[in-house]
């Protein structure tokens, strides 16, 4: 049941991302709720790899649908981040809001760097100064709101299978 609720949460988050969140932009940048979903599913479904990957791909497909990418960059990258987080959380104990926030911060930076590199390869150039501004603000903003979003979803984490 928890998995289906999470599926619904991803759909709701995606609708929020493309509607309401534009009014919470800081210096023209909004947080990435899709990546927050990926980190959450990776933490929650740490022992259910298949579901973590499926939900990450689902989030990626939705993000790509509302983006301008030629192909599904996020569909490719999200399961990769999910795998890395699961691998990491099996080796390191991640049970602290600060560590969660730091993890999200790093993941957003990695994601933006890889996205920029892929875009550059495809000939879609974004000036470096704009890239740095967006990456820095987006990673900080996403990391800062992650504990709050995670807490709001806490009842779901305690929901029995």
């Amino acid at each position: 049941m928890r998995k289906w609720i999470f599926l619904l949460v991803i759909v709701i988050f995606s609708i929020f991302e493309i509607t309401i969140l534009d009014y919470f932009k800081v210096f023209g940048v909004k947080p990435d709720l899709f990546l927050i979903c990926v980190v959450m599913v990776s933490i929650i479904f740490v022992f259910e790899l298949r579901w973590a990957l499926f939900l990450s791909i689902f989030a990626g497909v939705l993000k790509d649908t509302f983006s301008l990418n030629v192909f599904g960059i996020n569909t490719l990258l999200f399961p990769l981040w999910s795998l890395l987080i699961i691998k990491l959380s099996k080796n390191i104990l991640i049970e602290n809001n600060f560590i969660y926030a730091a993890l999200v911060f790093i993941i957003v930076i990695f994601h933006d760097i890889v996205t920029r590199l892929i875009n550059l390869t495809l000939g879609n150039f974004i000036p470096l100064i704009i890239f740095l501004r967006i990456t820095l603000i987006e990673s900080l903003y996403t990391a800062l709101i992650f504990p709050l979003v995670f807490k709001l979803n806490q009842p779901m984490l305690n929901y029995k299978k």
Binding site: V61, F125, P127, I130
Partner: protein, 261 residues
């Protein structure tokens, strides 16, 4: 080596290869998936936009009230101005007829409501609730009564996607209204635009109004783009650039007009 362990590893490897191939396939299918997903989510998006608008109206009641009073005064002034302009327009039309000048066809517009925005920070895109069924085509120009907004880059039967003028991939040939100085306006993914390729001796000043030049076929001449707020020199020292504040507040557009031929 243990044959059972070997077979387990082989099995896992096969699963991994199948998984990677499936993800690659799905990723290449994304452009085809956009249309059905957008059409499915059109109504929840419209509903959420409506709720947000109504809640915003209640929360910002006082601000809106003051704004309405101010706008009422402004309308009075503008009506007077419009009457004067109308006289000039009629005079202009009469003179053009006298000179047998070819009349430019006035464009038809379709009003559409904004129902969604870009999911990432790397593009500046909005989704509207009208599509090819309503006559919107790829490449159509979008405006508001304040000025240029962007152009249509994708259409489905009932929705369209617009690239806003502050997207880095957007570029439109433009001129400074006062001096007729030409340049290329493009976006910077923020609240301002950049007018590039200005010569060192260009005649441009802060507060100059920038409009479309009509050199780019798709954009009719004279659409208001914005006002110059800063002028700088490129790193190479060969050219100058101007920072432009868009006439339209791109972060909270609710309705747009699509120009159709």
């Amino acid at each position: 080596m243990n044959p059972r362990l070997n077979s387990f590893k082989k099995k896992n490897l096969i699963y991994l290869v199948i998984f990677v191939l499936l993800v690659l396939l799905l990723s290449s299918l994304i452009p085809a998936l956009r249309q059905p997903i957008l059409n499915t989510l059109k109504y929840p998006l419209s509903l959420l936009t409506l709720i947000r608008r109504e809640v915003g109206g209640v929360i910002f009641y006082h601000r809106n009230f003051i704004q309405v009073e101010r706008l009422k005064k402004e309308i009075g002034l503008l009506k007077q101005k419009l009457n004067a302009e109308n006289e000039i327009y009629l005079e202009n039309r009469r003179l053009k007829e006298l000179l047998h000048l070819k009349q430019e066809s006035s464009f038809k517009v379709i009003a559409a409501r904004v129902i969604g925005r870009s999911a990432d920070n790397w593009s500046s895109v909005i989704i509207i609730d009208k599509g090819s069924y309503n006559g919107i085509k790829r490449g159509s120009v979008a405006i508001t009564y304040l000025g240029l907004v962007g152009r249509v880059i994708e259409t489905t039967a009932s929705t369209s996607r617009l690239m806003l003028i502050n997207d880095t991939n957007f570029a439109v040939s433009s001129i400074v209204q006062r001096s007729r100085q030409e340049g290329l306006v493009s976006g910077a993914l923020g609240n301002s635009l950049i007018m590039k390729y200005l010569p060192q001796d260009c005649d441009i000043k802060v507060l100059d109004v920038v409009i479309t030049s009509g050199l780019t076929d798709a954009y009719p001449k004279g659409l208001l783009i914005g006002t110059v707020i800063d002028i700088g020199e490129e790193f190479s020292g060969l050219r100058r650039y101007a920072i432009i504040k868009p006439a339209v507040n791109l972060s909270n557009i609710e309705e747009v007009l699509i120009i159709v031929p």
